[in-house]
Symmetry: C2
């Protein structure tokens, strides 16, 4: 958390004063975009890859390929230099060899380009003097008036404008509430892909790599103000200016949830950080206490980050103290209770009256109506489950419900009927039933799509559950694979809003 | 852990003296089997379901359906009572209404049946006097000379003989090293299904439900002696006789790994346990200390249980202090190091010489050869990865290697080539390459099949990875979805063999 480079801090402070000058609009929603490093010989270079990815994403602005050799690419003239592009250019994607980057960046600056992402590697992360010098040059050019994302990064993904990360032609074009800042390109692209099927929509994803110019602190401040972003998530390996970061994350956390995955908290991880993005790390204990102090949410890995993002995206902004759990298999019930208690979430027994009414709906023997509610049979129809959820919500203590769906069992029924499981499993009816209960009761319902069958012979189940997930998500219902994951994510929501409320009182 | 029912303890002690008399061979490998409760009207009752499931599993013994109404089922005569079956019967499956169970069980005992599984529910788990009385009758009959599994259970799965759990017509017939004892039927069937695609083979799975007769302690002793079983796993909600259990688990753990998932360690979980299988629980702290004392492995849920089982099944019996990690995406490297350190596993930097040799194999810039080894490009061919793994194994400190495979990236290439991803991704070559390195170096390699893409549009990737998993498993290579899961499982192997070695010294 300590700064090691006075020169950088001064540059950063200067930047902070100039923040009002940074035209984020032109960076995230460019109308005219240059890709420097697109080769007429097509090939699979970064530049050509990015061109194709932007086209596949349906980027609607003008794209200008640039390469000193000229020629044609995808029917467009390749400009020999940035200067030759007619009119204004908003944003540049730079993917030329490291040693050629400063010249290109300077040309962009002179052209009045608002910002550039440098995808090329071969800078400070090498640890060589040549690499460090090249990166210093980038910082100097940036300080003279162009904002830089990278180098050694995967760039910017902005679903609204169609900007995409380096190897990402197939990311979602649907915008959402979650922003992600990542020092690691791999983490950025993985989260963007995960978000697509998990139902997490992104406002902006920025893979900033070595972070020679724009990086965690400044971007955090921008996102805190960004009306598109309701939830800020970050993967950080090291930070440049601890004090400034602390101020910004505190201010941001006060306004919206900030979820942080800090890599490099072990000795070996620390060593890896240095070679990966040339940053300084910081000790586990300092990070934990700092993040808790500012009411940021700390997570251990990308899975936990994604699950927490989903919960913050789709759940109301409050603390869920007591929940009901409806599902199958008594063991799910027992381990469910254990998991919930570990996160301070109660599963209180329902009132005797509600137990009786729910009991009348469920098959006997085998069912249990206390809470967790064990429905005993995986083929209990959605309309009955709807009634069960309705009744359980009548208990005033219940803030949220979790349903552990056993849809995978329908394969047995499909086999008997000789039909595909996706036709037999009533997932759409279930999604509608649950959505109706949420609307009526005002209490959120989280869906667990359990599936112990994932082998080559059961891919039809996997497919059915992927379709089912989409139906639930389309109705605003958060879906998790495992109960424990859902509980952990709800636990994060609880601790954020709990602490924020306590802080405000 | 305290016994609450003197009568039961006495019965248990009597049983313990008589253990030599229990004919487990006839129970787990019956040649003649009666299913009491098969209805001529077919239907979807438990009895008919079990009949069909046994047939689907290819059970090779004789099956005799029994029902007082007689008639025919699946071309076989239904016997009106067990007594009418000609000759000896080894094992009985009982799925009649609870109140009819004692009479049927007594008939089985008189017939000389060695053991019976009672799938019916409606006994002590109801908490009613009627239920408790019925279960008492079962215990009394059992004490007079027939062993009982259940009631309120899913029965026995034994791949070798073809016995299967209640709703399990599609379990694997391949035998393996892992035994599972479970108070919960849902947990038993889930683990059996999970095991099938994860590559965990079972010797015996026993869902014993209320455990009126045979249960954790006695079965544990049997499995400790069972030459087919190398690893014992258990899901326990409560135990009947703490002292006896402690003795048996200590003795068993001395001989083979015993992995325990204890449900009901929270207040709500405790309440649920009572209604689920009518057992007494015990506090979290007592369980933790007892299990550690006897060198049993404690896990939190079925996922962790399954992952640990896989690691114990496929890894050599030793401590893996230092590992190398080969994979893609620097972030994987950083979080990998953090996760490993949390489990006391080192990822030491390789010698300078090895770093140089590995560096010569990998694309630049972007790759890193320190350890973790970042291969930088997901399309590095299997033969190059093979060389990297070979070199890394040359470092004497390395006990085990982990490869984080990025096979899912081949979808991009498949799209360009216009071919299915399963044809393009070189998973078979990779599996062969890795197997060769394991053979040559004698150091195990664990495979992580990462996949951030699981949406409806990417089911071809899911399918390819399911096929890939099978190739790896066929060559004895353990496969995990996530790095963190693998590390946690290896951590369990380390602590078991570490403590066992320390205990022997």
């Amino acid at each position: 958390m300590v700064c090691n480079d006075k020169e950088q801090v001064e540059a950063m402070n200067q930047k902070n004063r100039d923040i009002i000058m940074t035209d984020y609009e032109r960076i995230f929603h460019p109308q005219k975009l240059a890709i420097v490093g697109v080769s007429a010989e097509e090939g699979t270079g970064f530049g050509s890859g990015m061109f194709n990815a932007l086209k596949a994403m349906g980027f609607e602005g003008d794209i200008f390929p640039v390469n000193p050799k000229g020629g044609k690419f995808a029917g467009l003239d390749i400009y020999k230099q940035v200067e030759d592009i007619p009119g204004k250019v908003d944003f540049a994607v730079i993917c030329v060899a490291a040693k050629a980057v400063p010249e290109v960046l300077e040309a962009c600056r002179k052209k009045g380009v608002a910002g550039a992402e440098i995808l090329s590697a071969g800078f400070s992360e090498l640890g060589t003097e040549a690499g460090l010098n090249l990166e210093k040059k980038i910082r100097e050019i940036a300080a003279r008036g162009i904002r830089v994302v990278g180098p050694n990064c995967f760039g910017i993904y902005c679903p609204q404008s169609g900007l995409t990360l380096l190897p990402g032609p197939d990311l979602s074009r649907q915008s959402g509430a979650v922003a992600f800042l990542s020092q690691s390109g791999g983490m950025a692209i993985d989260f963007a892909h995960k978000g697509k099927w998990m139902g997490i929509g992104f406002s902006k994803v920025v893979s900033f790599g070595n972070g020679a110019d724009l990086r965690e602190t400044e971007l955090l401040r921008y996102l805190a103000d960004d009306p598109e972003t309701r939830i800020i998530t970050m993967y950080i390996e090291g930070i440049k200016d601890g004090d400034a970061f602390f101020r910004e994350i505190k201010a941001a956390s006060y306004r919206k949830p900030v979820i942080v995955c800090k890599g490099g908290l072990s000795h070996a991880g620390q060593r890896m950080v240095v070679s990966h993005t040339a940053s300084m790390g910081g000790s586990r204990i300092i990070w934990q206490s700092v993040l808790q102090q500012v009411n940021a949410i700390q997570v251990q890995d990308l899975e936990e980050l994604a699950e927490a993002s989903l919960a913050f995206s789709l759940l109301p902004e409050k603390v869920f103290k007591s929940i009901s759990v409806v599902g199958g298999g008594g063991a799910l019930g027992v381990t469910a209770c254990d998991a919930a208690e570990a996160f301070g979430i109660e599963i209180p027994p329902l009132s005797a009256d509600l137990q009786t009414r729910i009991g009348e709906l469920l098959p006997k023997p085998g069912s249990s109506c206390v809470n967790p509610i064990d429905v005993a049979n995986p083929f209990v129809p959605p309309l009955i489950l709807k009634e069960v959820l309705r009744y359980a919500a009548e208990d005033n203590r219940i803030d949220l419900q979790i349903i552990i769906s056993l849809l995978y069992h329908y394969k047995t029924m499909a086999r008997i009927l000789g039909k595909p499981v996706a036709e037999v499993a009533p997932y759409r009816e279930l999604a509608e039933a649950i959505r109706d209960v949420v609307k009526e009761t005002g209490k959120p319902i989280v869906v667990i799509l359990a599936n112990p069958k994932r082998g080559v012979d059961d891919l039809d189940i996997v497919e059915m559950l992927a379709l089912a997930r989409r139906e639930f998500l389309d109705r605003g219902l958060p879906v998790f694979d495992e109960f424990n994951e859902a509980i952990r994510a709800i636990g994060h929501v609880n601790s954020y809003y709990g602490r924020r409320k306590a802080g405000n009182e």
